[in-house]
């Protein structure tokens, strides 16, 4: 019984949140990794792209709510997601046309593109703040929980409850669908194959008649879709705040690099590695250990390795360790 209680407490406080957070990071990291693989630079504006997409979703959700449209127990934001993705696609394509294309034609060094993406980051950040303001916005509705802690206790008769938020379940389902679609696209369709060819060897791809501008355009479209999805899921799970998306940049980059920049599979693995380590290191283990430890040996402190404010430090430490011992990432990414 104690063991089951410990297991439930562990799932409730560590596994479920970490899986949801890991899916969000994985979607974000996929975007970063695709940009790196095709356009060959680290996109600092990615966090703000996520914020922009999520902002449109918030606005459309409000509009739908005002019009009386709802999605039953599911959040209305899911209905708004396609519109948000469209809006975000328009934004990134316009940005590419006005900003990045010039440097691509010049064959500018990657670091110049990184600085350019810094400028884009400023502009997107300013746009989001200008349109929706810098404050917290709540836009989740529908049923809050898939499984309530109290119901779970009643069903199982355990002391510990397991709560699964609707947003967490949706996050996992949507992330799985998005990733499956992406991999199907990259591996099975002609366009996806041309993207991978372009990423592998630009010159060879050009020689075989692949149109680079088309590859770049499709990359941006996919990235916008992934970024918006990640942004909306994160916003549903926590809350929408522009600055938080900027701060997500660090764990997202850490995920992409840990997995191997340019490698989509690695981005997913990296997302979960970062999420699980952040949650486990900052979780107070007292409850779980009290169930597991024999009588009289319960821990006296909270058994929390680091306070939750240091979660950045965790992703960073993992990033450094991977970079020092395996610079290409866990899955073989590009060497930069």
């Amino acid at each position: 019984m104690d063991f089951l209680n410990a297991l439930v407490a562990l799932s409730n406080f560590v596994l479920v949140p970490a899986i949801a957070y890991g899916s969000q990071l994985a979607l974000g990291a996929l975007g970063v990794t695709l940009i790196y693989g095709i356009l060959r630079f680290s996109n600092f504006a990615h966090g703000d792209t996520m914020a922009f997409g999520a902002m449109i979703a918030v606005l459309v959700t409000w509009g739908l709510q005002a019009a009386g449209v709802s999605f039953g127990p599911l959040p209305t934001a899911l209905l708004a997601l396609p519109f948000a993705i469209l809006g975000c696609i328009v934004l990134v394509l316009v940005t590419d046309r006005l900003v990045y294309r010039f440097y691509r034609e010049q064959k500018a060094k990657p670091v110049i593109l990184v600085i350019v993406s810094m400028g884009v980051m400023f502009i997107m950040n300013g746009l989001v703040r200008f349109i929706i303001g810098p404050d917290d916005q709540r836009f989740s509705d529908g049923a809050r929980f898939l499984i309530k802690a109290r119901d779970f206790k009643a069903w199982t008769g355990l002391n510990e409850g397991l709560a699964i938020k609707t947003s967490q379940a949706i996050t996992v389902v949507v992330a799985v669908v998005a990733v499956a679609a992406l991999f199907w696209f990259l591996n099975k369709t002609r366009t996806g194959k041309s993207m991978r060819a372009y990423s592998d060897n630009e010159d060879l791809a050009l020689l075989s008649g692949i149109n680079p501008e088309r590859v770049v355009m499709i990359t941006w479209i996919i990235v916008a879709a992934l970024a918006t999805t990640a942004g909306v899921l994160y916003g549903l799970d926590k809350s929408f705040k522009p600055f938080v998306y900027f701060q997500l940049l660090l764990p997202i980059f850490a995920s992409a690099i840990v997995g191997g920049l340019g490698n989509p599979l690695g981005a997913i693995a990296g997302g979960f590695i970062i999420a699980f380590s952040e949650v486990t290191v900052t979780y107070a283990w007292k409850k779980v250990l009290t169930y597991l430890a024999p009588e009289n040996l319960e821990p006296s402190g909270l058994v929390q390795f680091l306070s939750t404010d240091y979660k950045f430090a965790v992703s960073f430490a993992i990033l450094l360790i991977v970079l020092l011992f395996k610079p290409t990432g866990l899955f073989k990414g590009k060497v930069i």
Partner: protein
């Protein structure tokens, strides 16, 4: 127009803009822009040293600036009575043990042969070290934080003159930069960027959460001023000789005292800026500077000529970060308080980058010019945006939601404008206003 004439003209224009603020808004505002401009110029020199001279992509400026601010608290504030005896030494001991653990782990990782023994001993050292560290660290920290938490709860400082805190800030930032550089400089530019971005966030997280160090988000107020040069308004207003001078200038005592305090800071900052600018210029012209640019332009060739690229990179990374630390210490002194919650990477890292790139990377004068210009715009875009929004919305009905929203949002024009300026400069004049020679 010849090169020097054009450059002088650019400086005159920026100076004119600041003077214009003085005439049209208030002299207080103008001198405030000047003071922060001077500090920003020092940060720009630091970043320019790293990026312009050596091509190092450091986006952790905020962390070094914040460390400079921390140094001010640790050097110049009075010590909290009893803090050292109750827990200070214990904390230091714990930190030393923590450092020893890391050093031991690194030694094991480097010296022992690869294999299971190495992994086991590595994990063992780290785990034991961590728990011993926490066992000593936690009770001592609670002891310090229990002392008078409403006004203190930290170990306080050394009660030394605040001017000494400026070089101390540089040293603290240099120490941190050495640690980061040692681990991250071997990596390529993108990784260095992410690494520095992360370390800056961690430094801020530490400053926010370690209350025993500098009170965390409870902030430290009342940092002493650099005494003879910068006085206190209240004392000045009672000083007869000061009142006589104010009257001679035709100013009322309150205005005169605030202006005198701010100008005192300007004078000190100007001296520091001139010294650092001179040093940076000498470095640029010296064989060392030529070597740095050679490494920047072609690392492989420089390495083939026998230059130790990683070592040189570490050297200039530490130097540039130290300059940012000095600027951070000066800024905290100017504010008179340390507020870790206000450090924001957009403002303290990326804005400095905009300054360097707009001014002209690789050129010290360009960096200084960019700093003044961008800081002026950063301050003035808000009122200009408000004015613009009022102009745009003049035709709309009063009380319409769009009008209210547009006017409220004018404050967020800043980031947008900065991004636009950066992109325009990068596109049409990528070498900046005063290009590298």
């Amino acid at each position: 127009m010849s090169e020097p004439v054009k450059n002088t003209l650019l400086f005159v224009v920026v100076g004119g803009l600041i003077l214009l603020t003085g005439f049209t808004q208030s002299w207080n505002a103008a001198i405030l822009i000047l003071n922060m401009g001077l500090i920003s110029a020092i940060m720009s020199i630091g970043v320019n040293l790293q990026w312009g001279f050596a091509g190092l992509f450091n986006v952790g400026v905020m962390g070094f600036v914040a460390l400079g601010g921390l140094a001010v608290v640790l050097v110049s504030t009075p010590p909290t009575p009893g803090a050292w005896s109750t827990g200070g030494y214990g904390v230091v001991l714990a930190l030393l043990l923590g450092a020893a653990t890391v050093v031991a782990a690194v030694m094991v990782a480097q010296k022992m042969p690869k294999g299971r023994t190495r992994t086991v001993s590595l994990v063992g050292i780290l785990l034991v070290g961590f728990f011993v560290y926490r066992a000593i660290f936690d009770p001592n920290v609670s002891a310090i934080e229990a002392i008078d938490p409403a006004i203190a709860g930290n170990i306080g400082g050394l009660n030394l003159p605040v001017l000494l805190a400026w070089p101390a800030g540089g040293l603290l930032a240099a120490g941190a930069a050495w640690l980061i550089g040692k681990t991250a400089l071997g990596l390529r530019s993108d990784y260095l960027a992410i690494a520095t971005l992360g370390i800056a966030e961690i430094i801020i997280a530490i400053m926010k959460n370690e209350d025993w160090l500098a009170r965390g988000v409870k902030n430290v107020y009342g940092i002493p001023r650099p005494a003879p040069v910068v006085g206190y308004e209240v004392e000045l207003q009672q000083d007869p000789s000061f009142l006589a001078r104010a009257e001679w200038l035709g100013l009322d005592p309150v205005t005169a005292s605030t202006l005198s305090v701010k100008l005192g800071y300007s004078l000190l900052f100007l001296v520091v800026l001139l010294i650092l600018l001179w040093m940076a210029q000498m470095a640029l012209k010296s064989p060392w500077g030529r070597m740095m640019r050679a490494i920047r332009d072609n690392e492989v060739a420089a390495e083939a000529m026998g230059k130790d690229v990683t070592r040189r990179h570490l050297q200039i990374f530490v130097l540039g970060s130290a300059i940012c630390g000095i600027a951070g210490a000066m800024m905290t002194t100017l504010d008179g308080q340390l507020t870790p919650g206000t450090y924001n990477p957009l403002r303290f890292t990326f804005l400095v980058w905009v300054m360097v790139i707009v001014g002209g990377s690789g050129n010290n004068f360009g960096a200084v010019l960019g700093a003044f210009l961008i800081w002026f715009l950063w301050v003035q875009v808000e009122p200009i945006g408000l004015w613009l929004m009022n102009l745009i919305t003049v035709g709309m009905a009063d009380g319409s939601a769009l009008k209210a929203h547009l006017i409220d949002s004018a404050a967020h024009m800043r980031l947008f404008t900065m991004g636009l300026i950066l992109l325009i400069v990068l596109r049409f004049s990528p070498r900046g206003l005063i290009p590298e020679k």
